[in-house]
Subunit: 137 residues, 2 copies
């Protein structure tokens, strides 16, 4: 399978998102299903490489750490979707927890804050209608 | 300019990395230069959209937050490079701080931990020689 990596700086290097966890297998199960990525393994008991199943896009590297999470993540992933309710249901079924009692809303964007099995916050967020079309002009 | 977004789950949605900061302009200046992204603006005084200057890849959304950083980031970016020393020098000149006195090393990977102007950790990391070639087979 061909693989187009997420470059940065005009091909100078590769950009990767690293996510801390305490249980590599559990985190890999969640994030591969949430994103439709594949577990490319590697990294022994410390790391696990997740790659887009269609070969295009950024690598997510899971990193096992000894310490538990404390405080809110200062870097997080957003999953933008055209159907907030359906997407929230889907990731809840995969083991996420929802942290917001009802959707937050700002400038026509609506979202929920959720947590992965390690408590890492991420958002499922629905842009205002027309967002993707307009950005393509 | 055409724009290929970072999809996830077979086109179901778009994946975005959100980075907290206390000063949008300062963070935008740093990350656009570090990654060769462009500041696409938008989001008023609260958000700032950064996009790859070549139109391909993941959006980085800067989010202004009132609280200062506390504790180590549980999600961070890795900048993989073929030349660790040169890349560390480059991002230091842009306003990063280096947190490691000497490079860390594991399984032939060598890296430094740095912090962006808000203290968000990121790594500049050099894979073992042959890493990219092998992954392409």
């Amino acid at each position: 399978v061909g693989r187009r990596r997420q470059g940065y700086h005009g091909g100078r290097g590769e950009l990767v998102v690293v996510v801390d966890c305490t249980d590599l297998e559990r985190a890999a199960r969640f994030w591969t299903h949430a994103l439709d990525y594949v577990d490319a393994g590697g990294g022994g008991t410390r790391y696990c490489t997740l790659l887009p199943s269609d070969g295009v896009g950024i690598e997510v590297l899971l990193q096992r750490v000894p310490e538990a999470k404390a405080g809110k993540n200062r870097v997080h992933l957003d999953l933008r979707t055209a159907d907030l309710a359906a997407e929230v249901s889907r990731v809840l079924a995969l083991g996420a927890r929802v942290l917001t009692a009802k959707p937050l809303e700002e400038f026509g964007w609506e979202w929920h804050v959720l947590a992965d099995p390690d408590g890492n916050e991420f958002c499922v967020i629905q842009p205002p209608s027309g967002h993707w079309d307009e950005a393509d002009r």
